[in-house]
């Protein structure tokens, strides 16, 4: 079905692989550590309401591997360039996991082109005594199993035929994630200080059985980000948008209609 266009766009000399489909208010989806697994049903559903853009971050997936990308600050500044170059306004920014962290880094720097922020199982801060799971130490197969409540999703991934290209992408994604988040592990100790600078309506969505970033983080973000709303999705793990597409899309569009229309 893939009602999206895939193209490589150029942002100040860096080629970014972009999936884009649908129409309506612009929505930018920032993927997590493992990248984008294609135009999944959730994206298709969101594109009914939105001009949805799902890029591969620089170094990830099919995007270029620029030599300027050293840390999360660089990536956040890059996406501000992205919004400028694409001349996007009133953007609904959605970020999952590492992408949620990135979304916050963008928003604390500049919210003027944003209309709302949605954090899904976001990394980026640390609650003392509740570390984010060490995705680098875990056996990759175990990690896939930990991500989902419904193990049929894990089975599908683990039984997928491994092509050379796919393997390259997986390795590159993993290395890119380590570059951004090895030390300290997947958070920025200074981010918490600046979350008050997020001035757009913020929606915190979490799988109630997330074993990667504990649901306690949903409550923590809900508490720190003024005026934010928390939605827990039942029987979902770290990727509720993959495991529970309908509930997820309903939650996202419901919030936007109510708070950021």
């Amino acid at each position: 079905m893939a009602d999206c266009k895939e193209s490589k766009i150029d942002i100040r000399g860096t080629g970014v692989h972009l999936r884009r489909g649908g129409s309506g208010e612009p929505m930018l989806f920032l993927h997590g550590a493992s990248g984008v697994a294609g135009w999944i049903p959730t994206f298709q559903a969101l594109s009914e309401y939105h001009d949805l853009m799902v890029p591969d971050h620089p170094t990830y997936g099919l995007s270029d591997e620029p030599d300027w990308l050293d840390n999360m600050d660089d990536l956040a500044m890059f996406y501000l360039d992205f919004l400028d170059r694409m001349d996007l306004d009133g953007v609904h920014l959605v970020g999952n996991s590492l992408g949620g962290w990135l979304a916050m880094e963008i928003a604390v720097r500049n919210c003027t082109r944003l209309k709302s922020l949605t954090l899904v199982g976001a990394a980026g801060i640390r609650i003392a005594g509740k570390p984010i799971a060490d995705i680098f130490m875990m056996d990759p197969d175990d990690l896939v199993r930990e991500i989902f409540v419904d193990q049929s999703f894990a089975d599908n991934i683990l039984n997928m035929e491994m092509t050379e290209e796919l393997m390259d992408v997986q390795i590159r994604n993993r290395v890119a994630t380590a570059r951004l988040g090895w030390q300290p592990r997947l958070f920025n100790p200074n981010l918490r200080k600046w979350l008050h600078r997020i001035t757009v309506p913020t929606h915190v969505i979490w799988g109630d059985a997330d074993k990667i970033v504990d649901p306690a983080y949903a409550a923590e973000f809900g508490r720190i980000i003024v005026g934010s709303e928390v939605t827990m999705i039942e029987k979902a793990g770290h990727l509720p948008h993959v495991e529970k597409p309908e509930t997820f899309v309903a939650a996202v569009s419901g919030f936007i209609k109510a708070k950021a229309a």
Binding site: F136, M137, M138, D139, P140, M167, D168, I171, R172, R174, V175, T177, A178, R179, W182, Q183, P184
Partner: protein, 392 residues
């Protein structure tokens, strides 16, 4: 003689409740009373080797594990500094780039070099994958930090201070090392490795010509990598590598007869490989530690990298050398004939090998093997044929 200083007192039942002896094996399994005995026993063993005429003693760095109790080989080298005379002290190696401040190590090496009047050999390593978990250093930056740390240290050792170092990973306004190293221009640098092409090419570079030390591996790999070094020097850089640039490390056990040697060493040797060395893949190769190319090559052989080693196989593949003095002598001489390494680094204590057997191993090696192998030189080396190395 090389020592790993393993925690031989490890409760193996407890050990087996954990995947490996690295990073997360609780240190409640470490008993300081036992450690105190072991450290002093191991240092005695190295001092004995120095006394018995070994050309050098060597130690290395590993963190948070029971495989090797030396998070700081600097401590061991310092302790040996004034307890040995004449022999080299080789730190093989120290991971400079695991530190935010590689100059702290450079200072320590310079101090030891001064104290010993120039007996230090400095090994530059990146540290194995597990250290990046223990030390919270980012493995994706490991390679470039390693290079930059090297450049910083060499400049600090050789240039008059103070100068500013303006690197990507390291910035220092005032580099001005007191003391400077004793050796001119600096201690010899060795690159111990498991056979990474990047390391070989970097070490062989004519600006450096650092000694490449192949860590214990199957003999076919030892051949491949040591010849690769000579090959790289000859074809890529256009010079003939001296045999002094080549070193090989192997666990060795000598007893009166072949049978006795095998019988006595088996349990301890297998412990080295299966209990102490074993590391799960993700801990051994954290993301970005290897280049994409190397990572895929290693990942393809993932299943048979480590674990489940048997003495028979270890001997057959030539990872270890075990036997009577005659057998060991012959084996090393044969290997030298093929490879012409200028230095042989013997690991005479491994795994749980106890004090009495280690001492006898050291004495037999010193008395019966050393005198036969120390005179070996390029005369006994069959010579390097680039074609052979390239063909393989």
């Amino acid at each position: 003689m090389f020592h790993l200083m393993p925690y031989a007192g490890l409760d193996m039942k407890e050990r087996d409740r954990h995947k490996s002896a690295w990073v997360t094996l609780p240190n409640s399994l470490y008993d300081p009373e036992v450690g105190h005995e072991l450290y002093n026993r191991y240092l005695d063993e190295l001092e004995l080797a120095a006394e018995l005429g070994f050309d050098g003693v060597a130690i290395n760095e590993h963190h948070q594990n029971a495989y090797g109790l030396m998070p700081s080989p600097v401590v061991m080298a310092s302790s040996l500094a004034r307890r040995t005379e004449g022999c080299k002290l080789a730190i093989l190696g120290n991971a400079f780039a695991l530190r935010e401040h590689p100059l702290t190590l450079a200072e320590e090496h310079a101090m030891i070099d001064c104290i010993t009047g120039g007996r230090l050999i400095t090994g530059f390593v990146r540290g194995i994958g597990a250290e990046f978990y223990s030390m919270a250093a980012n493995p994706t930056l490991s390679h470039e930090r390693h290079m930059e740390a090297h450049d910083l240290v060499i400049r600090a050792w050789t240039e008059k201070g103070p100068f500013a170092f303006e690197g990507k990973h390291y910035h220092f306004e005032y580099v001005n090392m007191w003391p400077r190293p004793y050796q001119e221009p600096h201690p010899p640098i060795w690159c111990p490795s498991l056979g990474s092409t990047e390391t070989i090419e970097w070490a062989a570079h004519p600006d450096r010509r650092y000694v490449y030390a192949q860590n214990y591996s199957a003999f076919t790999n030892v051949c491949k990598f040591l010849d690769q070094y000579r090959e790289v020097a000859a074809t890529q850089y256009g010079y003939n590598a001296s045999s002094e640039q080549i070193a090989w490390t192997a666990p060795v056990y000598v007893a009166e007869t072949d049978e006795q040697a095998v019988a006595e060493a088996t349990e301890h040797m297998e412990t080295l490989f299966n209990k102490f060395l074993y590391l799960p893949f993700e801990k051994l190769f954290p993301p970005g530690y290897l280049s994409m190319h190397s990572y895929k090559r290693v990942a393809a052989h993932k299943k048979n990298v480590l674990g489940g080693a048997k003495m028979e196989t270890l001997m057959e593949t030539g990872v270890v050398i075990v036997g009577s003095p005659e057998t060991v002598r012959r084996r090393i001489a044969e290997c030298h004939e093929v490879l012409g390494f200028g230095t042989f680094v013997s690991l005479l204590q491994f795994g749980t090998l106890p004090a009495d057997k280690t001492e006898r191993n050291i004495r037999l090696f010193a008395e019966e093997v050393l005198p036969a192998i120390q005179p070996l030189s390029d005369r006994e080396y069959r010579g390097f044929e680039p074609a052979t190395a390239a063909a393989e």
